[in-house]
């Protein structure tokens, strides 16, 4: 180890540069890995609905004052169900992951410590079946409970369905069915009755802390509606166009959105920024690794040239080829160790700084460890060829005069 360290000390600048490069690379790559995995994990969460079977489009009455909302709903639903491939349909205000919707806070009484935020959706007796959401306990809405609301009506429903997640936060002991939420005035037992608890159905906002909290109200919008249509997966693409066109042409007293969106498209749109960030971080990290590797190759090659004579001398004095290779590898390992030590500090510093500016979780140690393994492997791989070149230096060089 003696000569290795001495050689390093002699080529101080180069060594410092390699250490810095390794450190910054480690800091960036470990943070990028963490970011990529956080976002991939978010994207991998199921929305709770059978996305590949669903599509949606909006229909708005042109003259709300004269529009027969309930009759139009019934007629449109019959038209949709008559289309081959369509399995079910309902009309609502908002959809999971769509980015816009309503939310409210729910509690059981005044100063309830378990008060929780939840997204609310308009729903009817066909909602669960259309979305493919399972009822876990209690009952579904009854068709007679569904009311059509005027635009901007803010009414308290008499019955609601809630998601398992919301049920768990309000009723840690389980039994939610049959209980009543607090009323408008916060008083216990005067609000809507929870008649059923369903499995998973996410809120419209993918970045929301309360994304799993949702609540279904037995309402149907009286103005603009979002139709949600369930079809066989292979029929979705075609129906997206034909169902929309059919409804748009069937009745000119309302306006249908020019295109329908599949639930998969809504998901892609919802996570577009996350996907973009994953792509960008992957590209930058990969390029960074390549550049650092080439930097190490370049610097090591230079050192080989610079030390040709010294290497020849050591070969003449009996050093084996593998000893020379090992020496360069050891040297690189030392540099990487120093770089990694500095890099860990930088990685956590950068993480702390990012975290202060944005909603970014603490950097898990595992990603730093992956990063360290990566820079070590990278360093050893990069130094291999220059080291082999060094090992081929002829011992005869030593005897050549100046």
């Amino acid at each position: 180890m003696g000569p290795t360290i001495r050689a390093l000390l002699k080529s101080k600048t180069g060594a410092i540069l390699i250490i810095l490069e390794v450190a910054i690379t480690l800091a960036i790559v470990s943070n990028a890995l963490s970011m990529i995995s956080t976002r991939s994990a978010a994207m991998a969460r199921p929305s709770g609905v059978e996305e590949e079977r669903l599509f949606t489009f909006r229909s708005s009455p042109i003259d709300r004052n004269t529009y027969p909302a309930e009759a139009a709903f019934a007629a449109d639903r019959a038209r949709l169900l008559a289309l081959p491939g369509v399995e079910n349909a309902y009309a609502t205000d908002q959809l999971p992951l769509s980015g816009s919707g309503s939310s409210t806070s729910v509690k059981l009484g005044p100063d309830d410590p378990r008060e929780s935020q939840t997204a609310t959706y308009y729903a009817d007796e066909n909602t669960l079946a259309t979305l493919g959401v399972k009822l876990l306990s209690g009952r579904n809405f009854d068709a007679r409970e569904i009311r059509t609301l005027k635009p901007r009506a803010d009414e308290t429903p008499s019955v609601v369905l809630i998601s398992k997640a919301l049920s768990d936060s309000l009723f840690p002991d389980g039994a939610a069915v049959g209980k009543r939420l607090a009323g408008r005035d916060d008083s216990a037992g005067t609000g809507p009755e929870i008649v059923g608890v369903y499995g998973k159905l996410q809120s419209p906002w993918n970045g929301d802390e309360y994304i799993e909290n949702t609540l279904l109200m037995p309402f149907r919008p009286g103005g603009r509606v979002a139709w949600v249509v369930r079809a066989q997966p292979e029929a979705v693409l075609g129906l997206q166009i034909s169902a929309r066109d059919m409804l748009a042409n069937a009745d000119r007293s309302r306006m249908v959105s020019p295109t329908a969106q599949s639930m998969l498209e809504i998901r892609a749109e919802s996570y577009r920024d996350d996907r973009a960030m994953i792509v960008l971080m992957s590209i930058l990290s990969s390029l960074l690794i390549v550049i650092t590797a080439f930097g190490i190759v370049g610097m090591a090659s230079f050192w080989v040239t610079q030390r040709t004579k010294q290497i020849g001398m050591r070969r003449a004095l009996g050093a084996t080829r593998s000893a020379i290779v090992r020496e360069f590898q050891l040297e690189n390992a030392l540099l990487t160790t120093a770089g990694a030590a500095l890099g860990i500090a930088l990685a956590y510093g950068a993480n702390y700084w990012f975290a202060r500016q944005a909603n970014i979780p603490m950097l898990p140690l595992s990603y730093v460890l992956i990063g360290i393994v990566l820079v070590f492997a990278l360093g050893q791989l990069a130094v291999l060829r220059p080291a082999q070149r060094a090992s081929r230096v002829s011992p005869a060089i030593a005897t050549r005069s100046v």
Binding site: R152, D273, I291, T292, G295
Partner: protein, 438 residues
């Protein structure tokens, strides 16, 4: 001498071409990544209405009860929109030459041409002062009159794209359009007003779509034209439109033009007095006088219009550029030191330390220039890639001449900076030793 240094720099680039290529590639990439990120950041951070941004203020009134509905970081922040009650009171009573409330609505447009199916367009309900406040340019006609605001007249101002869609290139002033079930008379056509960021209403996102038409706010309220945007309520908004507009829900944007500090403080005093008065009437429960006027720049900052991801990308790409520069520094050092012998000869033949130093700075500059050339190409590709990843950036984050100039400048100066150390090191080489070695 400059010419000679340039010749030497080019010759230097052609020596050890793999090293040169590596440096140029790394610098080009680093510069491109950073400039791509900075272009986006700069666009988000750009002043959407530079001629007036210092005189335009968003109004915040603390009509809220409980934790802030819009600011997850500061529970005490006042709401960023107004109730209809307060908006109408301010429009009538607040001391300012120009001010107006506004909200985003929309309607199904019906053409008299039956061939064209009804289509939806976003519209802004506001007062006629809006056009002066934000300096919209009229192509035909003019804003509706004050009396139209008062009389809830069915009048509208179209933007050029909508006007051309409905009426072609002809002047539509005086013609009728149908919004939903109502017929409106066109009084003017303006050039599309599409500031980015859409500072005056950030509810549809920083880069929200431009409004397609304008109509008097009193008319829109009268026709119960629903608001699309964010509504926050701390109590029920009641049952239906008339309850909604009388409710404590906040849903209107409010902008005022104030030219002097005196006007600003007078306006603020009015807001506080108004808040006190409302408090006495049982509203405005919070008496901390958390009322504000916020200029455009601060408003954008307060609403965090610059996406976090863009900032993170820029930080990461600066780190990336740093690695590229360190890399270039090391490789330049290696490259320069390899010609120790030649430099010894040059020193013996009369080159001073300074000229050796300058020669190598020129070479660093040449590497930076080559890096910049590659960087320009990669930045263009990078922005294209960004448009693919984020569709909303298309026609928004584009490379302009200023960025291009900055790119070249940054690339060359950063590389020259990185070249300082290697150039200094080779200029200090003792010439005598190099001459003996061979």
């Amino acid at each position: 001498m400059t010419r000679y240094y340039l010749q030497l720099a080019v010759r230097g680039l052609l020596q050890h071409r793999a090293l040169t290529a590596l440096m140029v590639f790394a610098i080009g990439l680093g510069i491109a990544a950073t400039m791509t990120g900075l272009t986006i950041l700069a666009r988000y951070g750009s002043d959407p209405i530079p001629q007036k941004s210092k005189q335009l203020f968003a109004v915040q009134l603390d009509a809220w009860k409980g934790d802030s509905p819009t600011n997850e970081f500061d529970f005490n922040a006042p709401p960023d929109q107004l109730t209809y009650k307060d908006a109408t009171a301010l429009m009538q009573r607040a001391p300012a030459k120009r001010q107006t409330a506004m909200y985003l609505t929309g309607a199904a447009l019906q053409s008299d041409n039956a061939e064209i199916a009804p289509f939806f367009r976003p519209m802004r309900a506001t007062q006629n002062v809006f056009f002066e406040l934000f300096e919209l340019q009229f192509i035909y006609g003019a804003a509706w009159r004050d009396s139209d605001d008062a009389a809830k007249a069915r009048v509208t101002v179209l933007t050029q794209p909508l006007s051309e869609m409905l009426f072609g290139a002809s002047n539509p002033v005086g013609k009728q359009v149908q919004y939903g079930a109502e017929r409106f008379t066109v009084v003017g056509v303006v050039k599309e007003f599409a500031p980015k960021p859409k500072f005056y209403d950030l509810n549809q996102g920083t880069l929200g779509d431009a409004d397609a038409a304008y109509l008097p706010i009193a008319t829109a309220i009268d026709l119960s034209m629903n608001q699309s945007g964010n509504t926050s309520c701390f109590e029920s908004s009641g049952n239906g439109w008339s309850d909604f507009i009388a409710s404590e829900c906040i849903w209107l944007q409010y902008w005022v033009e104030l030219e002097t500090a005196a006007e600003t403080s007078a306006y603020l005093s009015f807001l506080n007095a108004y808040a006190d008065e409302q408090h006495k009437l049982g509203r405005f429960v919070d008496t901390t006088r958390n009322n504000h006027v916020v200029d455009v720049k601060q408003w954008l900052k307060q609403n965090k219009v610059v996406p976090q991801d863009s900032k993170i990308f820029v930080y990461v790409s600066i780190g990336f550029l740093l690695v590229c520069l360190i890399n270039a520094l090391g490789l330049m050092l290696a490259k320069f030191l390899r010609r120790a012998n030649e430099l010894g000869v040059r020193r013996a033949l009369g080159a001073s330390k300074r000229s050796v130093f300058v020669q190598h700075l020129f070479e660093a500059g040449a590497i930076g220039t080559a890096g910049a050339a590659l960087g320009v190409v990669l930045t263009i590709l990078g922005l294209k890639g960004m448009h693919l990843l984020y569709a909303k950036l298309e026609n928004f984050a584009v490379l302009d001449l200023k960025t291009l100039a900055i790119l070249v400048l940054v690339s060359v100066s950063a590389t020259v900076l990185a070249g300082l150390l290697p150039a200094w090191r080779v200029s200090q080489l003792p010439p005598a030793r190099a001459l003996k070695a061979n």
